[in-house]
């Protein structure tokens, strides 16, 4: 009981939750602006994690710097996926009729390709490295520096994104597209450009989250899917286009997972995540679009 009530666990929950917040954010953007269900989203986390892993092991570059490279690379992949595949999907009148389903199948294909390319290139043994793993004491809370750094970075980045969407002209354009596509076109928003931007931000943020994650956990080519699932839970719970809701939901899921595992056993982690996922879908069968849409 002592362990359950400790600050230690709360901190771990916050770190996990903050990573979920970042990952879910990208999913929210891509779904919100284009109705594309990106089930390959977690694989961007994996790519970001490998970028930081290799840069650190080969050249000793700090993950706190290489996360920018990871973000740039995954953002570029996002632009590539949009230009190469999804622009075509969105332009095809027949395919658009079942846009969500078709986008899901496409992203699923992409996910399989990426995972297996990664497993071909890096083999599937779990990898990890040590960086900033000294324990610092704050009061009677002992935490590793890398977790603290991850929490600070995710906090700052979330704030930046919220401000971007609230005040920047392109942030406002993204929100306009989420709210009402036709109206956004009418007022002269360059839909094409905003869609590429959504892909880039969404994928880039996921890549950055992966870079942060690589400091703290083992990475494998197949680590992405649980993050996709978690991100869907967060987006469904938090509400489409509702970024503040998404943040609350991300932290909630982090807490749920961390405490759930602490109360039962680590082997139940996957059961827990998938259980919550199933429950959320069953309770909200109308999916992301159901109920009120609040764009904040």
């Amino acid at each position: 009981m002592q362990a359950i009530l400790s600050w230690q666990l709360l901190f771990a929950a916050l770190v996990t939750g903050s990573i979920y917040v970042l990952v879910a954010l990208g999913l929210n953007l891509v779904y919100g602006t284009m109705r594309l269900l990106n089930v390959a989203h977690g694989d961007m986390v994996m790519i970001g994690a490998y970028v930081s892993y290799w840069l650190f092991t080969l050249s000793g570059l700090s993950p706190l710097l290489s996360m920018l490279i990871a973000a740039a690379l995954t953002a570029a992949l996002g632009a590539l996926a949009y230009v190469g595949l999804f622009r075509r999907l969105l332009a095809n009148r027949q395919l658009v009729q079942r846009l969500e389903g078709n986008s899901l199948l496409l992203f699923f294909g992409i996910s399989i390709v990426i995972q297996n390319l990664a497993s071909l290139a890096f083999d599937s043994t779990p990898r990890a490295y040590q960086y900033l793993d000294r324990v610092v004491a704050i009061g009677n809370l002992g935490i590793t520096e890398n977790r603290l750094a991850a929490l600070i970075v995710t906090g700052i980045l979330s704030l930046v994104i919220v401000l971007f969407l609230r005040f920047h002209i392109y942030g406002l354009a993204i929100k306009a597209l989420m709210q009402h596509r036709e109206a956004a076109t009418v007022v002269g928003i360059d839909v094409e450009r905003v869609q590429i931007l959504s892909f880039c931000i969404g994928f880039g943020v996921a890549g950055l989250a992966g870079a942060l994650l690589s400091m703290m956990e083992q990475i494998t080519p197949f680590m992405g899917f649980p993050f996709t699932i978690a991100a869907f839970v967060v987006v469904i719970l938090g509400g489409l286009g509702n970024l503040l809701g998404g943040m609350a939901a991300g932290l909630l899921l982090g807490i749920l997972e961390t405490y759930g595992v602490a109360l039962t056993s680590p082997s139940l982690r996957s059961v827990l995540i998938y259980g919550v996922f199933i429950l959320v879908l069953l309770v909200r069968p109308q999916g992301l679009l159901g109920g009120k849409r609040v764009v904040r």
Partner: protein
């Protein structure tokens, strides 16, 4: 349609029965794989092809059947074990389908995937709790016997999908796919039809799962619940064309061939090709091979 396709199918079935007389063990094994995938994909089409409720978790029935099969085989013998596996899968589908089929479109797709993974981890945890990480099945049937049984199931699955597609239920299911609200309005018992299709599509995969455990004489939860199985089924159906019973033959033949060439040597390359095929067919030929090559020109919806 019946006249045009019945004869080639019967010829194919007869030829398949003759395979063991002319082929060696290796080819019988390949034919067994082919029959297995046809059985699985035909079952999938009964649900997902006809209703548009795309299941990305069909492996759950296969895995459940395998689990029930390995638990029962030593106790009650092969025939009852396979029957029990099919029954268990069907009952499971009824129980799960009731809440799950309220979930629409892409959310159903994700739900089925999540459900299959959920069951996988549950079985892994149960087995770990029992101290079992894998189980062996000794004294199972020969590959030849298995081949004929699975071939029979493939034929049964094809016939089932074929006849359901042309029955009242089949038209109801297609109506649900095109517009569920409209179907309900004109009096189609939507919930019942969906549930019936779900259960029907679960029974044969359950039996196949039990038989495949007998083939490998080895049971490991993460192997029989491998999401790759679901993924392969969907890809086969989409490559072949998922609106009727013909599609899976082409899709399954193509992928089994590909897998024989690549799986043992380079499984990742095989999976990458699978992913690329899926992407290409969704984007460029959503009707699959049958939709694109064998049918009349696609009607363009206004």
């Amino acid at each position: 349609m019946i006249g045009r396709w019945t004869i080639p199918l019967i010829v194919a079935l007869a030829a398949a029965c003759g395979v063991p007389f002319v082929a060696g063990d290796y080819l019988i094994g390949v034919a067994l794989s082919l029959a297995m995938w046809i059985a699985l994909t035909e079952s999938w089409i009964l649900l997902s092809g006809l209703t548009g409720y795309v299941s990305l978790g069909h492996v759950v029935f296969y895995g459940l059947g395998a689990y029930v099969g390995i638990l029962l085989w030593g106790e009650v013998g092969g025939v009852l074990a396979v029957g029990g596996a099919g029954l268990a899968s069907g009952v499971f589908a009824l129980a799960v389908g009731y809440p799950a089929l309220r979930v629409r479109g892409p959310y159903f797709v994700m739900l089925t995937f999540g459900l299959a993974e959920f069951c996988k981890y549950i079985v892994i945890d149960v087995e770990a709790g029992l101290g079992q990480f894998s189980r062996l099945l000794l004294g199972g049937p020969s590959v030849l016997q298995l081949y004929y049984v699975v071939l029979g199931l493939a034929a049964a699955a094809t016939a089932l999908t074929f006849f359901v597609a042309r029955s009242r239920l089949g038209y109801a299911l297609r109506a649900i796919r095109e517009n569920e609200e409209a179907a309900e309005t004109v009096g189609v018992p939507v919930a019942f039809c969906k549930l019936a299709a779900f259960a029907l599509s679960a029974i044969i995969p359950g039996m196949v799962g039990a038989l495949m455990v007998a083939r490998s004489s080895y049971f490991e939860p993460s192997q029989v619940f491998d999401p790759i199985v679901s993924f392969t089924i969907v890809t086969m159906a989409i490559i072949g064309g998922s609106d009727d019973a013909r599609g899976p033959f082409l899709g399954a033949a193509l992928l089994v061939l590909l897998s024989e060439i690549l799986w043992a040597r380079a499984p990742q390359v095989y999976m990458i090709l699978l992913g690329i095929l899926l992407i290409a067919f969704v984007l460029f030929a959503p009707g699959g091979i049958t939709g694109r090559l064998l049918s009349r020109p696609v009607k363009v919806k206004p």
